[in-house]
Amino acid sequence: MDPIFIGTSTFLILLVLLAMRVPIGFAMGLCGIGGVALIIGPAPAFSLFAATVYETTVNFDLSIIPLFVLMGAVAARSGLSSELYGAFNAWLGSFRGGLALATIGACGAFAAICGSSVATAATMSQVALPEMRKFNYADSLATGSVAAGGIIGILIPPSVVLVLYGILTESSIGDLFLAGFAPGILTVIGFMVVVSIVTYIWPEMGPAGEKTSIAQKIHALKGTWAIITLFALVIGGIYFGVFTPTEAAGVGAMGAFGIAAMRGRLSIETAKEALLETVQTSAMLFTILIGALTLNKLAIFSGLAFALSNFVSGLDMTPLAVMGVILIIYLILGCILDALAMILLTVPIFFPIVISLGFDPVWFGVVVVMVVELGLITPPIGMNVFIIKGMAQDVKLSEIYAGVIPFVLAQIILIIAVVLFPAIALWLPETAAAFR
């Protein structure tokens, strides 16, 4: 049988299995083994799979995944979210839409110690939603700003999705983290602009809060130093090459425990909860990673990845136009697929194309993550929106989606900016190179 035919039909079978709700990791792994076995024979295929399992699990560098997950899990239980929110509120609350501005800001700051969008949205909504509803914010703005603020979590380092991208494409995780930083900050600013515009047009949606004195403003910053220190330690350490991203994750996790302990929030029970959550998330992530790496081998052995990139480079299209098509595919897929699944499924196929067109791998990672983030808040399946819906049961799903629309537009503009001006993402890793 023609390897390309085997590759293509295996990918079709994979789609059927996924539609039947077979967990993504299992489906990718089994299809990968099956397809490779048809091409090079069962014995080498199984040996290859065994090597993938062993090399993925018994691996020093990949300890970065559970350690960053643990850092986020502990931080989420440290009660820091309410203080962050309080600090941003003291500074921004007196503006129109101030509570929504504070939500976006606090989400961005929380993202600096948490690598997951869903966790950011879930943690911040517990603090921000009740507050905004108390001050008669429109449900659409209140829920929309938390759902949108959550997606900042994926981009501002540390970011679990960027780690997985780095592993799959063998790009530098440190560079990816640094490259995500500026676009992440821009997202925060962009979303704040959105809140300002929306409340300028419809002032009743987000009434301004009371003015706070300078003393109050400064007092509110008290709780934020811990996050700033931890972030500076982790990302500064990576930037200056003091430690590897993996070691930074270890330091970060320990730091999160330290912060929780200092705040009297660290009991055996919370530590156990955070650890169990980390264990489960990590087992899930590693299963998917093993599946994706196995499937990756099929894409290579079948010649599918090569054929596809040949096909695309044979097209009479400029590289930028090809990139545009790829991003539109991501946008559409993002509406129905989970962010993680999407990256792991598509990157092995699109990555060779993108590289052959001369794009920067780190830059592509940031762009992909930005596009994938959108999928978290776009209908019909937006994980963040579902989480907010779970927290605010009486708000209609359609209302949350309506509240999210302005943020989606802002995010699309930002993506176009980063695509047209790669330097937005790449300047930070480039300056960091001087220190290594």
Binding site: L17, L18, A19, M20, R21, V22, P23, I24, G25, F26, A27, G29, L30, I33, F46, F49, A50, V53, Y54, T57, V58, N59, F60, L62, S63, P66, L67, L70, V242, F243, T246, E247, G250, V251, A253, M254, K272, L275, L276, T278, V279, Q280, T281, S282, A283, M284, F286, T287, I288, I290, G291, I336, L337, D338, L340, A341, I381
Partner: protein, 167 residues
């Protein structure tokens, strides 16, 4: 089965704490005491293998493996829904079963070759066999779920209750 999976997950958590500590000691040792842990890499490697595999059973039991749930019971009806579940659970058994089988073979090979870690010269076969054991438990968990699907739903409800009461 529920208790075994939970105990293994807690052990996995301990492994992670150990990994974290080793890393901290290594960084601190390198910069402040000029004495890096030369064997930190191999200890973390082995710890990671155990960490991931020991968490597999609990994750499977609580249906923690993410799937694409576009076609839910509301769209496809209860009969197809159940059929999908059986396919998905069966895939889990096969996938984790293959992992267990290959880890067993790998364990035998490592044992025969007398493979040791580079610095501490620890034998690696006990770790591989422990990983194999954990994979067997995970596979068994998937098999139990195939027969008793309600088990994981009961656990999930219990989880949600804990969360809503415990904040």
């Amino acid at each position: 089965m529920v208790r075994i999976a939970r105990a293994m997950a807690l052990i996995a958590g301990l492994f992670l704490l150990i990994i974290m500590s080793i890393m901290i000691v290594d960084v601190v040792g390198r910069y402040f005491l000029n004495a890096p842990l030369t064997y930190s890499v191999e200890l973390v490697e082995l710890g990671m293998g155990l960490f991931v595999l020991f968490g597999l059973a609990e994750t499977t039991l609580r249906r923690g493996h993410i799937s694409v749930d576009i076609l839910n019971v509301g769209i496809i009806g209860p009969i197809a829904d159940n059929a999908f579940r059986i396919v998905a659970d069966f895939a889990g058994i096969v996938f984790m079963g293959v992992i267990a089988w290959r880890l067993l073979l790998h364990g035998f090979r490592v044992y025969d070759d007398g493979l040791f870690t580079q610095v501490l010269e620890l034998p690696t076969f006990p770790v591989v066999f422990l990983m194999f054991g954990a994979a067997v438990v995970a596979t068994a968990t998937a098999a139990v779920l195939l027969i008793k699907p309600n088990l994981s739903y009961a656990l999930q409800n219990q989880n949600e209750q804990n969360q809503s009461t415990g904040g």
